[in-house]
Symmetry: C2
Subunit: 339 residues, 2 copies
């Protein structure tokens, strides 16, 4: 077990290193923090901390830097979530109010998060499967082609073009549209499959039934994970502040950011509620081994409809970042609830 003071030393190391980006030595530590002990004592504590794997030296005769494990301890036991300042809070409101549609909300959120944390921001669009249907629209593009448009209560819109096996009359179309809406409007997406399964049979014309089945198939297909998840990233310019050695670091991170699948999985691991912090090697994806990911779910009501977060160097200001992420998530939730 680590004594109180050793934890204090670890905290000091993390704070200094985050601030200066340079390995921190025993002397500098005692000067910058009121630890009440001499450098020699700190050195002993450091030796213990190193033994336990919380800190490391890049090379002999250099100061110490925290390891992933050290950051983990720091986040879990030594640091709280720093609440935002009033100006920052106001900035969030100013920035997010006035968004005209969902795309706008998401893109503003991304920019805001990137700016507040000075890191890379990732925002997932509200998941379809966890949203409710506001409206389903069917348009005839030509006699044998339909367009299906889905609108969710979170403002998301999806469309699909459908090739009908058989030409489909305008009356049947209006009919289908009405029946479809009366069944699914206001319902959760997750419930849609059983709500519509008997729909084809309720049509008299057998040709129409085929078309109705096709439409429903497309509708259900739209809800398949993988396809339905979208996200937006921003603040990649902040990657250039990652460190001096970043040519090597930045590459895999940029690659990871382009792999939506990777990011989605990353966010997918977020616990339903509450904030998740993944530090360095805790990230399953190799390219992100030298980064930390802070993420949290957001939603219009109590429950999360999607996630957002930031990707930054393991050497990041955890309390501040966590505060910003949480505050933004809450406010985005409010915005969505209003619209």
């Amino acid at each position: 077990m680590l004594s109180e003071r050793r934890l204090e030393v670890l905290r000091a190391i993390v704070q200094d290193y985050v601030g200066t980006e340079e390995p921190v030595g025993s002397k500098a530590l005692t000067e910058r923090h009121q630890l009440g002990v001499s450098p020699a004592t700190v050195r002993n504590d450091m030796a213990v901390l190193e033994e336990e794997g919380y800190i490391a030296q890049p090379h002999t005769s250099a100061g110490r830097i925290p390891t992933d494990r050290g950051y983990r301890l720091f986040v879990d036991r030594l640091a709280g979530v720093k609440p935002l300042s009033t100006p920052e809070r106001r900035a969030i409101h100013n920035f997010l109010d006035g968004a005209v549609d969902l795309d706008d909300v998401v893109s503003r959120t991304v920019r805001l998060l990137a700016q507040l944390t000075r890191q890379v921001a990732v925002v997932q669009y509200p998941s379809l499967t966890r949203s409710s249907i506001r409206h389903v629209e069917l348009l005839a593009l030509s006699p044998a082609r339909l367009m299906l448009v889905l609108i969710t209560d979170t403002g998301r819109v999806e469309q699909r073009v459908i090739d009908c096996p058989v030409p489909f009359g305008e009356t049947s179309l209006a009919d289908l549209r009405a029946r479809l809406n009366s069944r699914v409007a206001g319902r959760r997406f997750a419930d849609v499959p059983q709500l519509v399964q008997d729909l084809p049979e309720s049509f008299e014309e057998s040709e129409d039934r085929a078309t109705v089945s096709t439409v429903l198939a497309t509708l259900l297909e739209t809800l398949v994970e993988e396809h339905e998840e979208r996200l937006m990233i921003g603040g990649t310019a902040n990657l250039t502040r990652f460190g001096h050695d970043f040519p090597l670091t930045i590459r895999p991170v940029l690659e990871a950011l382009e792999e939506q699948v990777v990011l989605l999985r990353l966010l997918g691991e977020v616990k339903e509620s509450g904030m998740t912090v993944r530090i360095g090697h805790e990230n399953a994806y190799e390219g992100l081994n030298s980064t930390s990911v802070v993420s949290v779910g957001y939603g219009s009501g109590g429950e999360a409809v999607a996630k957002l977060g930031v990707v930054g160097p393991t050497r990041m200001d955890y309390p501040g970042t966590m505060g910003a992420v949480r505050a933004v998530a809450r406010y985005v939730g409010q915005i969505l609830a209003e619209s």
Copy 2:
């Protein structure tokens, strides 16, 4: 005027420099190209080319590298557009077919372009103002709130929430929807303003007129440039290949890429048809002074509804990049025409 051989020397310099990323000297040039003259002659030619501002030496006693002006001459007079190989062409088809909606088309295009050119790809969504309206949908979210959904012939969907000054009945809504669609469906967006201007007056109830005006105002506002333009970028990981000194270079480029306004202006300068190449300082935006932008319009018919292009180092393979950009633009145009 430059002699034939001097132009040939310039071409050789550009090609070698693009390949090796290193200043090219007279000896190396004669070895790698059949110029039929000695290094000394080439040196004389180089001196002339330098005097004219087509090439420069990074420092005394180093080889020459092309200047922006040199690249310009190369692009204008020395290089054609390199057609893609059959496998590449096939790759485009494989990659782009199977896109389910417009977002999918755009995101696939971005990835494809980035992969083909190994540079940063930028794709603008089809412009609203140059598209036609396929359908306008009005939904009542609550008695006093409407949602306006616009669907274009290029598959783009825009939605806006409208707060009504006065509650608006379901009958009036259906009425408005019908009248609106009969007027604008199939028409160009640009024509919308005059098509709808007398619409409010055609309503009897004076309260309804206010709402109708609000709806129309929102509709027109949606078409305002700035707001209506969207784009997607990808392949930023390719920035890491820009050069050895890239920490300095990459930063402003990433920043520029995040500034949608900058990019839109960049693409906006593209001539209606035909490819545009902006080299180094020809780019108005300072952060892109060490990059070149190759862009072209694309569209479903003969005319362009939007633009796409790539951003790369001035030291890029112009013929190849131009070939890829053109080929992708053409195929995307086809895809849009089909859907």
